[in-house]
């Protein structure tokens, strides 16, 4: 849909600066693009490539490896139902069936109003809270069929906006390294040697 906005370019540059090599910022920047657009658009990947010093094809190659990057628009709410072993034992498959009937889409599909995309997911690390699902990666533990229907109603009516931000938004807290506290990130080559390079306030390494 779009390249990064000027505001997001600033955020992206701060992320890139935290790594000894720019390429390490590829996944965080793809998340940022997805936060901006709700999915990972072609020109966003081109912009990521420019910022990390890769080709657009390389960024696409990385993005397609990871489940969370959606290269086409999805619903505002991505519903992921776990059916792996711990959830399966306690009704995860039945929950997925119910979600599918209730939303009127098969796993992988998006409702006609563009509100919900349903996914069957693998283990989401809430095994003691089975059955469970995520909406935009926010956890809903021990959820029953009626509970799911009520949740869908609320979301349709614009409820729970604080709890469940639109698809693509992950952490709403961004890492900030205050300049006066920063230790400093050295490129790998600049840090290379037989000793750990000293910084301001540090003694030279003992020989």
């Amino acid at each position: 849909m779009a390249r990064f906005t000027p505001e997001n370019v600033k955020i992206a540059e701060a992320i890139v600066a935290r790594y000894p090599r720019k390429r390490s910022a590829t996944i965080p920047l793809c998340h940022l693009a997805q936060e901006q657009d709700g999915y990972l658009a072609d020109d966003a990947m081109e912009h990521v490539a420019e910022l990390v010093g890769a080709t657009p094809a390389e960024v696409r190659g990385v993005a397609t490896f990871y489940e969370m990057f959606k290269l086409h628009p999805v619903g505002k709410y991505l519903v992921g139902v776990c059916t792996n072993i711990s959830c399966m034992l306690l009704g995860g498959e039945e929950l997925l069936q119910h979600c599918s009937k209730s939303l009127g889409v098969k796993p992988g599909g998006t409702t006609d109003d563009g509100m919900f995309t349903l996914e069957e997911t693998e283990c989401l690390a809430a095994c003691t809270e089975a059955p469970m699902l995520q909406v935009n990666y926010r956890y809903f533990h021990r959820i029953d069929h009626d509970g799911f229907d009520r949740l869908v109603d609320e979301l349709r009516q614009g409820g729970r906006a604080d709890e469940v931000p639109p698809h693509g938004t992950l952490s709403r807290v961004r890492q900030v390294i205050p300049e006066e506290r920063a230790f400093g990130v050295l490129p790998v080559e600049a840090a290379r040697g037989a000793d750990r390079p000293a910084r301001a306030g540090e003694p030279e390494p003992a020989k």
Binding site: P20, S24, T26, I27, P28, C30, H31, G61, F65, Y66, E67, M68, F69, G80, N84, I85, S86, M88, L89, L90, E93, Q97, P107, G108, E120, T121, E122, C123, A125, A126, C127, T128, E129, A130, Q134, Y137, R138, Y139, T169, L170, S171, R172, V173, Q175, V176, I177, P178, R181, A182, F183, V185, V188, A191, R192, A194, R196, P197, A200, G201, E202
Partner: protein, 446 residues
């Protein structure tokens, strides 16, 4: 060994403390004292304490952390510290709890370790599907920077380190340490061949790197504060300290419990009222997974084994990632095995042929059986394909692949066929009818 002996909560002490995740409460409850102590020691002395503790890595492979740090090649800088928070082994749920409820504990462990190994920089890699954990972790790191615990001149001392919180994006294989490094370098998360790419020698950016699990790191502040010997005094000869176990499935009280290794048994964990409080009421145990989806299954006769690497290993399985999944007699063993196998098929990165092709075919054979179209010879075929990924179906598994993902798929197959062959036979003879559309919810649409 007496039940009266007081066992400390090393990694879960703040889980029930109100606002235990905040810097204020962390400091009020003894936080950052381990770091303070570490910085008054030499890096080598800190390393010695961790070596004395002999803490086996809590990620799954169980390699002792102190020994791992010692593998780092001398005289080759920069070195990096990478924290593996890509928790996604089915049944495993502990690192997320630590990050969400006590992120400063993890951070303190990271700082002490970075100091001990003289790391240039530290990266905390957290699974992408856990944004709440990200929020808690990033808030903790931001607060700790401002308060002088991270960054330059930590605690006013001439030492510093930059700590970066990094995102995953949905790939189980990235939990394998060399794949994690690939991912952190901005690549597809495919494992590297070992040798030569042992992280301690050629890790992140081809530099010496220590990769440690979240729970392992969360133990480090206690070890430094109380001494390695105090930690080693907990547990038995082969498994020291306490450990988190996620108990899930058919139990009355599923939960994440911190228990002492070596002396606690599976039966304690499943039956004691403070833990699982028994198999789901009115039901009997059929089988259980002792250490995550990759682990061979255990049964009633294994309940009295201690939670100890050696005993569990000798009995043919592993504590792995601390995920104990209980299955009662209502469980369809074929379907349960299929779920686990499908997981590995989906999560195979595709680099090695035996895993990529093998897990995919295994999955298809399972789906044929479960849909009612199975043939009698399919049971042997499953074993044959699994044997081609992990020759001999032995324990510990032999590998035809770069990493253990493919061989892990053999565990549930060998386990369930050896013990419950009659259930497979019931499917292929038509005695068991497939449960309509429910069975194949996960079937690959392609």
């Amino acid at each position: 060994m007496s039940a009266e002996r007081r066992v400390p909560k090393i990694v879960s002490s703040r889980w029930d403390v109100k606002n235990g995740h905040t810097l204020d409460v962390y400091l009020q409850t003894g936080g950052y004292q381990g770091l303070e102590r570490a910085l008054s020691m030499t890096p080598e002395q800190v390393h010695d304490e961790v070596k004395a503790a002999t803490i086996q890595g809590r990620g799954g492979a169980g390699f002792p952390a102190g020994a791992k740090w010692g593998l780092i090649a001398p005289g080759n800088y920069p070195r990096y510290l990478v924290i593996n928070g890509d928790e996604s082994e089915p049944g495993t749920y502990k690192d997320r709890v630590i990050i969400e409820r006590d992120p400063h504990l993890l951070l303190e462990g990271v700082l002490i370790t970075a100091y001990a190994i003289r790391a240039e920089q530290a990266f905390i890699y957290i699974r992408g599907e856990m944004p709440f954990a990200h929020e808690r972790m990033i808030q903790a790191v931001n607060d700790a920077y401002r308060a002088g615990y991270v960054g330059r001149n930590v605690l006013g001392k001439p030492w510093g380190v930059e700590v970066v919180v990094h995102w995953g994006a949905g790939a189980y294989i990235v939990g394998e340490e060399t794949a994690l490094i690939e991912s952190l370098e901005g690549n597809r998360g495919m494992p590297r061949l070992k040798p030569p790419y042992f992280p301690a020698a050629k890790g992140l950016y081809m530099q010496p790197t220590v990769v440690n699990n979240v729970e392992t790191m969360a133990n480090i502040p206690w070890i430094v504060s109380n001494g390695g010997a105090a930690f080693a005094a907990l547990g038995n000869e082969t498994s020291n300290g306490t450990r988190l176990f996620a108990l899930s499935g058919h139990v009355n009280k599923p939960g994440v419990y911190e228990v002492e290794l070596g002396v606690t048994t599976f039966r304690d964990l499943v039956e004691k009222p403070e833990y699982g409080a028994g198999v789901r009421s009115g039901h009997a145990l059929k089988a259980f997974i002792p250490g995550g989806a990759s682990a061979p299954w255990f049964y009633e006769e294994h309940l009295d084994l201690p939670l100890s690497a050696k005993e569990v290993g000798d009995a043919g399985s592993m504590l792995g990632s601390g995920a104990v999944v209980i299955m009662d007699e209502t469980t369809d063993a074929v379907r349960a095995a299929w779920r686990v196998v499908m997981f590995f098929a989906k999560e195979s990165c595709g680099k090695c042929t035996p895993c990529r092709e093998g897990t995919t075919w295994l999955r298809r054979i399972y789906e044929r059986i479960l849909s009612g179209a199975g043939r009698p010879e399919d049971i042997e075929l499953l074993l044959d394909v699994a044997d081609n990924i992990s020759p001999g179906l032995a324990w510990p598994p032999r590998q035809t692949t770069i990493c253990p993902l493919g061989p892990s798929a053999a565990s549930p197959i060998a386990s369930s066929i050896r013990r419950f062959r009659h259930e497979y036979e019931a499917y292929v003879t038509g005695a068991t009818r497939p449960a309509d559309d429910l069975v194949l919810t996960g079937a690959d649409p392609t």
